[in-house]
Amino acid sequence: MSSSTVLRELQRDFEAKSNDLSKLQKDIAKNHQVRKKYTIQLGENELVLKELDILNEDANVYKLIGPVLVKQDLAEANANVRKRIEYILAELKRLDGNLQDLEEKQNSKKEAIFKLQERIQSLQAGKAKA
């Protein structure tokens, strides 16, 4: 097998792996963005829950649904906010697992690319000497 075909194959492999790496990095960035959004929503919902908790039983709670303010039952509002908080916590945990997975893949891709680079460089050096 001629060394130039080996070299070309290695370079193609290198390009493919680099593309994979940049896609992984984009996925990681998107993960961070979604995490940020969820964390903000979680904070807001916890504030609302605190406000609802210090209310008397007979206080009126309204929910904005589109352009309409609808009167809600305090217990129902409490339950809704709690459920939303649970949902956000579950999503955040799922994102955390995702992120770990992506970061592991990113690191192993980086290693593979590095090794490829070494091989390419040594082959090119060998060719230059010949």
Binding site: L47, V48, E51, L52, A59, V61, Y62, L64, L69, R84
Partner: protein, 152 residues
């Protein structure tokens, strides 16, 4: 404590190459900018809450049946009469509104203002630390660059 951390970071940066120090400085600068933006946002939110609080104060002084002008759009006002100035609707977030008395409403505003003020103070501390790291990096970068290219 912050000075010791700064000295430790400086010692680290002395050992790094010019490229790395530059990277550290740019990272720290970006973080300082983000923190400054957050501080500005908190200041805006705090001042809006203070306006709301003083508006409530004002509203509670007005008698029932007082004539007023109600804004329908930014340039259209219609005359109206003040009905019940004792109950107010407070926007607590995520689309929920709670009916409160004027006193409770003021209390809500005051609580939020205090929360924001304490967040602001915490952020100011963090921002100061980051700024000192950024400044250290800048100084070390200058020194290294001078060292690499001594002026004749």
């Amino acid at each position: 404590m912050a000075a010791a951390a700064g000295a430790g970071a400086a010692a680290e940066m002395e050992k790094m190459s010019v490229e790395q120090v530059k990277a550290v400085k740019e990272q720290a600068d970006m973080e300082v900018n983000i923190l400054q933006d957050s501080l500005n946002n908190i200041r805006t939110a705090t001042s809006r809450l203070e306006v709301a609080s003083s508006a409530l104060e004002d509203l509670s002084l007005r008698p029932k049946g007082k004539k007023l002008l109600v804004p329908l759009t930014a340039s259209l006002y219609v005359p109206g009469t003040l009905d019940d100035a004792d109950k107010v609707l407070v926007d607590v977030g995520t689309g929920y509104f709670i009916e409160k008395t004027t006193a409770e409403g003021k209390d809500y505003c005051d609580r939020k203002i205090n929360l924001l003020r304490s967040n602001f103070d915490q952020l100011v501390e963090v921002a100061a630390k980051k700024k000192s790291i950024a400044d250290e990096a800048a100084v070390i970068l200058q020194a290294k660059l001078k060292h690499l290219a001594p002026s004749t």
